[in-house]
């Protein structure tokens, strides 16, 4: 694998984080049936206010069946590359270094914002902090709905 330049690495990681923030929160709001598609099949850990949730399907189930309407607003977010040579587990086993590209990285994302539960703009704004770890989507399927990155771990906490 050729050594990726800093600018390429920064672009890939910040684009991935931006895409997550721009698509995940709208999905929690208006596209809850798609929530499961944001997660890898066997995530490391998913936590909401200290409650462990098994996987993306369970998150989706909770949002579809139990959550009231909610409006999320990300007010600040940032990301860092955790591993520049993330060992993506594909169907054929872990990718050998020779096949790796600049996109084989894991990314730490931190988001700060607020959520308003319930209908209407007058509900109180609850501040939240959320940490994600993103990893490359190992699936080889193609199509415009295919996600480049999947959530490996997630921790949501109301903080205000």
């Amino acid at each position: 694998m050729a050594v990726a330049k800093d600018d390429a690495l920064t672009k890939v990681s910040t684009d991935a984080a931006t895409e997550l923030v721009n698509s995940f929160y709208p999905a929690l709001e208006k596209n809850r049936d798609a929530i499961g598609s944001f997660y890898m099949t066997t995530p490391t850990s998913i936590l909401f206010n200290g409650n462990p949730v098994a996987d993306g399907a369970a998150v989706q189930e909770i949002f579809v069946n139990q959550m009231p309407a909610a409006h999320y607003e990300a007010q600040s977010f940032d990301c860092q590359i955790i591993n520049r040579a993330y060992p993506t587990a594909t169907a054929a086993g872990v990718k050998p270094p020779a096949e790796m590209t600049v996109k084989d990285m894991s990314i730490l994302v931190i988001v700060s914002g607020y959520v308003r539960y319930g209908e209407g703009r007058d509900q109180p704004q609850r501040g939240f902090s959320e940490t994600f770890v993103l990893v490359p989507n190992p699936s080889t399927e193609r199509g415009h709905r295919r996600k480049g990155w999947l959530i490996q771990s997630q921790n949501f906490r109301l903080v205000v």
Binding site: A17, V21, I62, F77, S112, Y117, S153, L158, V160
Partner: protein
């Protein structure tokens, strides 16, 4: 609430902050024409602020700002200087004449003003025999000051009259700086001059009479009829009148050494019977007592919500509001508007508009708030976090040397818009904003690259530029932290040996810290996530990633578990890592995704016939059950079998669980 009303001082006759003493109108007739910038022409008192949707509040804000500057800054107030110069309009010079109130002429019917004016004119003419007769063009009284207006060519002669003997006293004559003596006293109420100290002590005395510590009521009703305030001449001029309330609040605040003490001193305020048409004059109340619960505004003149809109986002804890005797109460949308404005409002005009249950329901979140999820490995995260903030506050270089290496990354972002715990002003983010890597705002690649810091050296360089901080002590102020942790696979292997990466820990910390901003201690909140992995640092670890988010202080209420207070009773919500680690549950496979503790009513709470030991034991059992997923019976067995030592009980539980010797019915059914 009853107390509040009955405490209100007696008498019903009107009078208010905006109302003047009876002699007032005569005296300042010419005044109004003279200072158009300061005061509108013939506008009625009550109107001064109401017509002001756009222009005036700004001017007022500015004045307030300047006043505040003056109040905090000391003697030389810019506000006064600006206000004085250039506001005259006509080409007249203004002088203040003082001390005459002690003269024999003061017993004259008009207080001696006429004879003083005549005296000054005589003196002005005494020094010259030719030319037109010198004249005091205009004059007005402000408290103990006579402000006189003369043509510029007379200015020099005027100033020479300083210290002249008038009716037995030496009068003081100075160029008028736009404020009366009272103004200055108000504006510099923390200054040191005798007059200032006097004003301050008078106000303190007035406040003392109006404060009821037992009910935490500050009764500011019927201010205009307050003899103490009348004696001070507060209502004799518009300028003192408008500055009086902010100054009174300032004096009030000065009685407290800490903002917590100040916030806790008052729960109720009455501003009843003050003929307020809007909140313009009293708006600073919201800064002085932001946590107010009860506000009595009865018998004022609020017409509609717009007259109070400045308090739309204030008083977030207001539970009781009384606007009876105001036209606003008849506005059809009144109740809805107030409910919307004040989320905790329960009683409006003495009618219950929200139940306690409805209020409590607001706090509930769709996903119940649980105690922190802290799954450490050999206390690595615990030891790291315990040492981290102490070192970050005291020796950042040492910290960097200890656990950061050339591949460690650090970046920070500031959420300048974050919701706050209290409606208070927060200090700016100047020291941080240049480094903030909020990707919502920092969109250009070069900036994104330059705002991330890789390697110990660069990180330290940045940290040395950031303000000094003080984080709360984790052992004694555990509540201020929420710390969660779990394992994280796939980290880079610093030795390069493992192509599948190495395992480590991710630690998420929410908390607060103090920082000195311009000599003032500012409290801020932060969210900070670390990824640590095996490495060459202290304890065989290294920091892979350190990402920090800063925001306005948001309190710690949000993470106190809402399901049951019981686990808290033993280990506070933000359990110190030691406690959390000791109690760290195994992977909670048996816990349903969104779980609530099912406890019998009253379990773990004191009750008649229950000993303290029992209550304590029940709490331990409840905690054990919550952490282990075992039933109360089995949790109790585990604890009693281990001499009620929770750590020993936990160890025992883990062993038994690992051996698979615990029966299925030892565990709570999964939902």
């Amino acid at each position: 609430m009853k107390t509040m009303k009955s405490r209100r001082s007696g008498g019903t006759s009107g009078g208010g902050i905006r109302k003047r003493g009876p002699t007032r109108t005569d005296r300042d007739g010419d005044m109004d024409m003279d200072r158009p910038g300061v005061r509108g022409g013939k506008r009625g008192r009550g109107d001064t602020g109401r017509s002001s949707a756009s222009g005036r509040p700004q001017a007022r804000e500015r004045n307030l700002d300047l006043l505040q500057k003056a109040v905090s800054g000391g003697k030389d107030s810019q506000a006064n200087i600006r206000q004085g110069k250039g506001s005259g309009g006509s080409n007249l010079e203004q002088f203040s004449v003082r001390n005459w109130k002690d003269s024999k002429a003061a017993s004259n019917r008009d207080g001696g003003v006429e004879s003083l004016t005549a005296f000054l004119e005589r003196r002005l003419n005494a020094s010259t025999k030719s030319g037109p007769r010198a004249k005091i063009t205009k004059s007005r009284v402000e408290g103990d000051t006579l402000v006189v207006f003369v043509k510029p060519e007379l200015a020099e002669r005027m100033i020479r009259l300083n210290d002249n003997l008038f009716a037995g006293v030496h009068i003081t004559i100075e160029p008028y700086d736009g404020t009366s003596a009272l103004d200055r006293d108000l504006a510099t109420s923390n200054g040191t001059s005798a007059a200032t100290a006097d004003t301050k002590s008078k106000m303190t005395a007035i406040l003392g009479k109006r404060y009821y510590p037992d009910t935490k009521l500050l009764d500011l009703s019927k201010l205009v009829t307050d003899e103490g305030l009348q004696a001070m001449g507060i209502f004799n001029s518009t300028s003192t009148e408008s500055k009086f309330f902010p100054a009174l609040m300032k004096v009030w605040e000065m009685q407290f050494t800490s903002s917590t003490q100040r916030r806790e001193a008052v729960e109720s305020v009455s501003l009843a019977d003050n003929q307020l048409a809007n909140i313009t004059v009293v708006t600073t109340l919201a800064q002085t007592v932001p946590d107010l619960k009860n506000l009595d505004l009865t018998n004022n003149n609020f017409k509609d919500p717009s007259s109070m809109s400045g308090w739309r986002w204030k008083f977030r804890n207001l539970e009781f509001l009384d606007l009876s005797g105001n036209p606003i109460s008849a506005v059809p949308t009144f109740k809805d508007t107030m409910l919307k404005w004040y989320p905790k409002l329960r009683i409006l005009n003495n009618v219950e508009v929200r139940t306690a249950e409805e209020i409590a329901a607001q706090k509930k979140t769709p996903i119940p708030v649980q105690a922190p999820y802290f799954h450490d490995e050999s206390q690595i995260a615990e030891n790291f976090i315990r040492a981290f903030f102490v070192s970050y506050d005291n020796n950042r270089a040492e910290l960097i040397k200890g656990v950061y290496d050339n591949e460690s990354t650090f970046s920070m972002n500031v959420n300048t818009q974050a919701p706050k715990a209290q409606q208070i002003e927060t200090a700016g983010w100047d020291a941080y904003i240049k480094r903030s890597r909020n990707l919502l705002k920092i969109s250009h690649l070069p900036a994104r690259m330059s705002r991330i810091y890789t390697g110990a050296e660069k990180i330290l360089e940045l940290w040395n530029d950031l303000p000094q901080t003080r984080h709360p002590d984790m052992a004694t102020q555990a509540d201020d932290y929420l710390i969660e942790c779990h394992q994280m696979p796939g980290l880079p292997d610093p030795t390069g040996q493992s192509p599948t990466g190495v395992g480590g820990l991710i630690i998420m910390v929410h908390g607060k810290f103090e920082e000195s901003v311009g000599g003032k201690v500012e409290t801020r909140s932060f969210d900070r996530t670390f990824i640590i992995g095996p490495g060459g640092g202290i304890g065989g670890i290294r920091v892979v990633s350190d990402i920090l988010c800063l925001r306005a202080y948001g309190g710690n209420e949000a993470w106190s578990p809402e399901s049951q207070a019981i686990p808290q009773a033993i280990h506070p919500a933000a359990a110190p890592p030691a406690a959390a680690a000791a109690a760290a549950a195994p992977a909670p496979v048996s816990t349903p995704p969104v779980a609530q503790l099912g406890l019998p009513a009253g379990y773990g709470s004191p009750a008649p016939g229950k000993t303290d030991t029992q209550v304590q034991q029940e709490q331990l059992v409840a905690h054990m059950s919550a952490k282990s997923g075992m039933t109360l019976q089995f949790s109790e067995m585990a604890l009693s079998g281990n001499g009620w030592n929770p750590e020993a009980a936990w160890k025992n539980f883990e062993e038994l669980k690992a051996q698979g010797t615990l029966p299925a019915d030892a565990f709570l059914p999964t939902a």
